[in-house]
Symmetry: C2
Subunit: 143 residues, 2 copies
Amino acid sequence: MSDRDARHDQARGLSQMLIRAAEQTKADFAETVAPFGLPVHLARAVLMLTTPVPMHELADRLACDRSYITNLADRLEERGLVTRVPGADRRVKLLELTDSGLAVRSQIADAVAERSMVLLRLTNEERQALARLLEKLVVTQRD
Amino acid sequence: MSDRDARHDQARGLSQMLIRAAEQTKADFAETVAPFGLPVHLARAVLMLTTPVPMHELADRLACDRSYITNLADRLEERGLVTRVPGADRRVKLLELTDSGLAVRSQIADAVAERSMVLLRLTNEERQALARLLEKLVVTQRD
DNA sequence: TATTGTTATACTCTATAACTATA
DNA sequence: TATAGTTATAGAGTATAACAATA
């Protein structure tokens, strides 16, 4: 009982730190992109659009429903950051960054590179060690 | 530009792994407690109630609004896991586990100890290394 | 028949504001 | 006047189901 409790406490402590670190990472990202008037999910999508992407594929990459991509696309279009362009298969629409979107993407990428906690607080060796540990922890899945 | 992009990519890769590891940790916890019919937030609250806790204090510990604690308490009471007991200060109500709640708490603690990924996938040294790295990453705040 | 994107709708999580009982 | 808990309500985020166009 007290042995199990000790194991539980250890697991909880580490898990909480992990979750807290991740939440802080998300909060940092949110703060970093806030000056651009972008909620986190729009900013993530913008960063993914290095090249035009079919909406259903974006749904796969973001692990969400297609209907939610419609929602994101609407909001990104309202801000003038993307346009829907027709694909070869006429059912498909691709999201493509506008010039304004490209500019924003570049600025966001810069800001993230400058402000990322994993870059600011860890040395190169520490980042490698962290990556190795996290890999052991995470179930392998598609990229 | 390509230097910044490289830094951005490195930051993004590590950040994504961190977030993915945390999400997996949450998902594992959710799966672990699902057999008890408990959503994550109720299970977390149950684990915190090692001793009766004033509702406002639980709000502090969970970093959420008092009104949400009312919500949690209602749902925990519906399931017969806690009761509201009056405090010395007559404005205060404490949440206290029922016998059933105590039993569930013990079972959950066991299940978490058995199934935690940070315990199953990492050696003791690795856990210590991970804890050290996460500490560097996380802004110090109250416990 | 299956797939893409859209629409309408609904659900979960969580907060804000106003309220009451008490301090 | 300030604090604890409650209530009503609202917003964000996201999913489900039904649908039209296309394959």
